[in-house]
């Protein structure tokens, strides 16, 4: 069985780019999953973490985390926004492995993501740190 990419990627490895388009129905489903009747009405823009969540789903697949049922825990998250992101807007996400280290059988990995619009203007950034258990350095 092939090694998952999380085990073989070196620092600087690029993931994506991912093209994320959140439809109105997806935006409503996300807002309903995380909110309640007192939650803000985001109108024609997205709840703040919607795009980050969508890109994480892509990353998880590319990294092969769940395909091999690796025990993965999300331990840290950073995010920042330069402007609102609209429902239906195409967002490009460029990701890279920013840090990778092994300690006591655990693999600590940080993936940084830059988000940009169709004009190439940056709209936000994020950084995700995960621990994958049971991985030793080569």
């Amino acid at each position: 069985m092939a090694e998952p990419l999380i085990s073989t990627a070196n620092i600087g490895h690029k993931f994506g780019p991912y093209e994320v388009i959140t439809t109105a129905s997806q935006a409503v489903a996300y807002a309903a999953a995380v909110g309640d009747e007192k939650s803000p009405d985001y109108g024609d823009h997205l709840a703040p973490m919607t795009v980050v969540a969508a890109v994480l789903a892509n990353l998880v697949e590319d990294l092969g985390l769940y395909e091999l049922r690796l025990q993965t825990v999300h331990v840290g998250q950073e995010a920042g926004w330069d402007r609102k992101i609209n429902v239906g807007e195409t967002i490009r996400a460029d990701a890279r492995l920013a840090a990778s280290s092994f300690r006591r059988g655990n693999h600590f990995a940080t993936i940084s993501v830059d988000y940009s619009d169709y004009e190439g203007t940056q709209v936000g950034t994020s950084s995700t740190t995960i621990i994958v258990s049971g991985q030793d350095s080569e």
């Binding site: 999953a33 709840a47 994480l56 025990q71 825990v73 840290g76 998250q77 926004w81 258990s133």
Partner: protein, 135 residues
Amino acid sequence: MNNRAVGDSLRGFVREITQSRVDAYAEASGDHNPIHVDEAFASTTQFGTRIAHGMLSLAFVTEMLVNEFPNTWHSGGKLKVRFSAPVVPGETVTTYGEITSIDDTGKKPTAICKVGCKKLDGVDAILGRATVPLE
């Protein structure tokens, strides 16, 4: 001109994390990590049972920031958090925050806030910092 001051509390809220909410989040986000949705798998992990997505609890924290800073959070807001304890479906969490300092050195003043999400037993599920431009 803003009327924010160091020591101001952010208006947090309480939300129950149910397995149905976790399942709905998995569907909506596309994150189907079995540690969140597959009890048989989750029982073999260090947690012994399913846990909620950290991003779900973090969405509550960002919702608090949207409520508190509706005109500026989306345009210049930043946060950095650590997921410090798992949340198990059935638990209730409370978001909280406080302005710890205000940076007046830039074009616009920026509030630096301690933010988090605490479980009923007082344990922080999320702990971190947000910076938000002020109007």
